[in-house]
Symmetry: C2
Subunit: 312 residues, 2 copies
């Protein structure tokens, strides 16, 4: 796990760059889920997602002399937008390798925040190849979206804020893509209050994480054909080692369950959230044997949704 | 004006029934507007709008002996949903006279909260006739959506919370429909800090309020063909008398300006807000000569939007 000292140092370091985001509740969703839900609203976070936590923690630790050639990453969108925002703030370049099927709004967010986009095909091989080529050509520093201790320590601060504010939660649920958020969440929760259970939520259509945990070693995605564009990445080695030992379970959800939960959240909470985090609500609604009667925190990771292309 | 004592009594009375709603900010919207905006998020309020403030204040003052025949109102939606929610909580019936062009989600909210709907045509005459007939038939108590001192005192508590939290605001902007919210906002602001300016925002397509203030006596709507379904009502006598003497100005907006502002709010704040309050943001964006460089509070009145029927 990331040590609690590293997480608290990260929190102190990034505090001027982030919002301590609101936590919302909904009587209607409590009734539907038969539990008490606390939504940690990182969709209200700067750059529109939690990703700025990890990025700010990483970039603020890179010495200025080393950052003159800029920063490079591969991202389906939110990490790239966050990296672009923080790099621009620090007066550095950001180059983002993005898959050709990234949502339009996430492409626009990278551009708006000053990042340069290099396109790759929507698979891990193309992503890796183009990323390496870009690193070679620019001489920039790689800021991996999740396979990096500094990134994970930053992402861990979302759960830290949540459990510091709501001390009597029974469980937390976070989405599982590359694993940065889930491994960070686990690191905060299990060190501060090991009584709290932590669940990961993953689409059936990109369930490399679930199969990796079950088999004990990293498995590739068989498909990434999911509406959860933020959860299509391959689980990272560092997050995997943390998640494998400490997660209470990974719960898989179907596409229609995710879309239904997204709509419930929009209608009842009046907030705009992505499918990639609506999956946490879907996990609760479709696993009542686990969650009924409990106080549950959900990490709502982002709100960068293309309003011209809604899934209903 | 409603006295500050009545407003504070209302606040104490309704506090167990309402949320002290969050205030959100957005760097992007500050940049676009060239000002500092503070969004008082009544879209997160119980029943999905600020209307529960006035309704709770009124119903909690009606003696139990008088409420056995239930409560009756005419409402395009949010007032009706709020009345239904509070009446049901108190064990009373609620009958809501609704226009046939009310949005589907507002119809569903009334039903979900236990109210009974009686339909009228979408004009003031039909509304008044059916309302009187319903009152005669049920013997219920009329809870007018805005022409009632208790309602206005309740609505005034939204601005009260905002200016108590942000003491250095220069201006507030609230939508103008029947006038309950705007007259309540004026009552709170001008008694606590008369230095703060208060503006009303109204659609050109339902500008009875503007024309009434300019001419000095109540004018009828020439059309109610606006996307702002919450602002189609005729300004009430009591709100008019308060607004006329104390408002700094009424600003009128076009339909496309309202829709554009609604989309900006969804994209930048990641919250779901109705056209009827997006109009306050439109007012700021299209009157920069008034608002540039100022600290401005906006009352975001509700978030009950039909997600299958978005205006873009």
């Amino acid at each position: 796990m990331i040590t609690i000292n590293d997480i608290q140092s990260a929190h102190n370091r990034i505090r001027p760059f982030i919002h301590n985001t609101a936590v919302l509740t909904s009587t209607s969703l409590n009734n539907i889920s038969e539990s008490s839900l606390y939504f940690k609203c990182e969709n209200f976070q700067k750059s529109g997602s939690f990703k700025i936590r990890g990025v700010a923690n990483a970039l603020l630790q890179v010495h200025k002399d080393h950052s003159s050639k800029g920063f490079v990453t591969a991202s389906s969108g939110n990490h790239g937008a966050a990296l672009s925002m923080v790099a621009t703030y620090l007066g550095c370049n950001a180059t983002i390798v993005m898959p050709s099927n990234a949502p339009e709004i996430k492409i626009q967010n990278v551009k708006k925040n000053g990042g340069e986009i290099i396109w790759c095909k929507p698979n891990q091989n193309s992503r890796d190849q183009i990323l390496q080529k870009t690193l070679d050509e620019t001489g920039g520093i790689l800021i991996h979206p999740y396979n990096d201790y500094r990134i994970i320590a930053g992402q861990a601060t979302a759960a830290l804020e949540l459990i510091e504010k709501y001390k009597d939660l029974d469980m937390l649920v976070a989405p599982l893509g590359g694993g940065g958020l889930l491994s960070g969440t686990i690191s905060s929760v299990k060190q501060i209050n090991p009584r709290i259970q932590v669940y990961g939520a993953e689409p059936y259509q990109a369930d490399d994480g679930y199969r990796s945990i079950i088999s004990g070693r990293i498995q590739e995605n068989l498909t990434t054909d999911t509406i959860c564009d933020g959860l299509r990445a391959q689980i990272g080695i560092i997050p995997f080692s943390i998640i494998k030992e400490n997660v209470d379970a990974i719960l898989r959800l179907k596409e229609d369950q995710i879309i239904e939960a997204m709509r419930f959240a929009w209608e009842c909470l009046k907030i705009i959230i992505e499918p990639s985090c609506a999956i946490t609500l879907a996990a609760i609604l479709h696993n009542k044997q686990i969650f009924r009667g409990k106080k549950i925190g959900l990490i709502i990771t982002g709100g960068n949704v293309d309003l011209d292309n809604l899934p209903w």
